[in-house]
């Protein structure tokens, strides 16, 4: 009887360990990540993760750990959040979020969406701005470690695109720092608007 609490604790730990990784990831995600990343309507500085490429999520979680993704919100929130994540947990979380159904954020300016689609699909060759579709895919679904852009909010996309030109995320390597720093504000607003309406 003296060790009753210990037995209960051991039993609880055994149960937790026996949970399938996807259930553990879901529990962890619901408890920790979704405060900021989950279902937020309107303005949210945290990006949607539903349907995101698992390799991209893993890569970003590592970049928070290594402090190479260095914009203010990353420093403030994600450096701490990712500091003690094991590679296995990072992979489980990535698999969990990538399997969630996608949804358009639809918070951009509908009047700019057509211009944004045009630039996304064709680029602006005269201005040396490349077509996003070449790497991010026809429905902005991403591939491998190249992120999905559809489903992200206007606010997040615009801020992210502005940050490349401000010198953040430089460690992500080519080509995005070079591409994004050429984009004038009108183009950023048009692209972010268009993408916010893509599911």
């Amino acid at each position: 009887m003296r060790y009753g609490w210990l037995k209960i604790a051991i039993l609880a730990a055994a149960c937790a360990a026996a949970l399938a990784p996807e259930l553990r990831a879901e529990a962890l995600a619901v408890r920790n990540c979704n405060w900021c990343h989950g279902g937020a309507k309107g303005y949210s500085p945290a990006p949607r993760l539903a349907g995101q490429r698992p390799l991209y999520i893993e890569k970003e979680l590592l970049s928070f750990r290594w402090h190479t993704r260095d914009n203010p919100f990353s420093r403030q929130y994600m450096w701490g959040a990712a500091a003690n994540l094991s590679p296995e947990t990072a992979r489980d979380l990535a698999m969990y979020f990538s399997a969630q159904p996608t949804k358009a954020a639809s918070d951009g300016d509908p009047g700019l969406a057509a211009m944004g689609e045009n630039i996304y699909q064709q680029g602006l060759p005269e201005e040396n701005i490349v077509a996003c579709v070449a790497c991010h895919g026809p429905n902005a679904e991403g591939v491998g470690s190249i992120p999905r852009l559809s489903g992200l909010s206007f606010a997040y996309l615009r801020r992210r695109l502005e940050q490349w030109a401000e010198g953040y995320h430089a460690a992500a390597g080519p080509p995005m720092p070079s591409i994004a720093s050429k984009l004038p504000p009108e183009v950023v607003a048009a692209l972010a608007s268009y993408l916010s309406f893509v599911k």
Partner: protein, 229 residues
């Protein structure tokens, strides 16, 4: 030269015609950009500045040393490519003889002298290959590339592309090309190239060869080439 310029102008007008209202939007954006002093104009102007800016544009997709890039679509290596081949392909994109929406838009915005400058630059680059093919197919691929497949009447690739796969004139360099790009091209040859039947081009030479190669042979050759320096 005049004939060349007239032809280029006609590509541009035909492009605007084909794209219809969709092409008006970027035109508006460009006009807006040009109207703001010190933004678009901030970059170094003059012929050299223009070439540098355009090179940066090419490399945003094709890689910092033009080694190619594994995007949603495989983006080919241009480093070490034969200038004549590059010029031919850019013309083919602009004339819709080779179908590719992205490269169509790129190609019809380039002047012949710009193409020549870019092609000369790419010829001089020699980064290592980014490969991507399965290592265990390289041996079989080397045999096909160097000796062909006599039983299937497939000529040795090296006969035209050179023993080092570096190409010659209008015949492209294949060494170091991306594995998925090579597979994509060889399996879609007639859907992508020589699209104006009344005006056959050099792509007709490869057509029967691409057809004769089966999937496994294509993968083997692509694997071999993806590691060639």
């Amino acid at each position: 030269m005049d004939a060349e310029i007239t032809r280029l102008k006609s590509y541009r007008s035909s492009a605007a015609f084909r794209l219809g209202p969709r092409s008006v939007l970027p035109a508006i954006v460009i006009a807006a950009l040009c109207a703001v002093p010190g933004r678009a104009g901030a970059m170094e102007r003059g012929p050299r500045g223009d070439v540098q800016a355009k090179l940066g544009y090419c490399m945003d997709c094709h890689g910092l040393s033009a080694e190619g890039y594994h995007g949603y679509y495989p983006i080919p290596r241009l480093a070490g490519q034969q200038p004549e081949y590059l010029e031919n392909q850019l013309r083919a994109f602009a004339e819709h003889r080779r179908t590719n929406n992205i490269m169509f838009n790129v190609a019809h915005s380039l002047s012949p002298s710009m193409v020549a400058s870019l092609a000369a630059h790419f010829k001089g680059l020699n980064p290592g290959p980014i490969g991507g093919g399965p290592h265990d197919r390289v041996g079989q691929g080397r045999a096909i590339f160097q000796d062909g497949v006599p039983d299937s009447n497939i000529a040795a690739c090296s006969a035209c592309h050179g023993p080092e796969a570096t190409g010659y004139g209008e015949i492209p360099r294949l060494a170091g090309q991306l594995y998925p790009y090579l597979i994509n091209k060889l399996t879609n040859w007639d859907k992508e190239r020589g699209q104006i039947r009344s005006r056959p081009d050099t792509s007709a030479i490869m057509s029967p060869i691409a057809h004769s190669l089966n999937r496994s042979q294509i993968e083997a050759v692509a694997a071999y080439l993806s590691y060639q320096r």
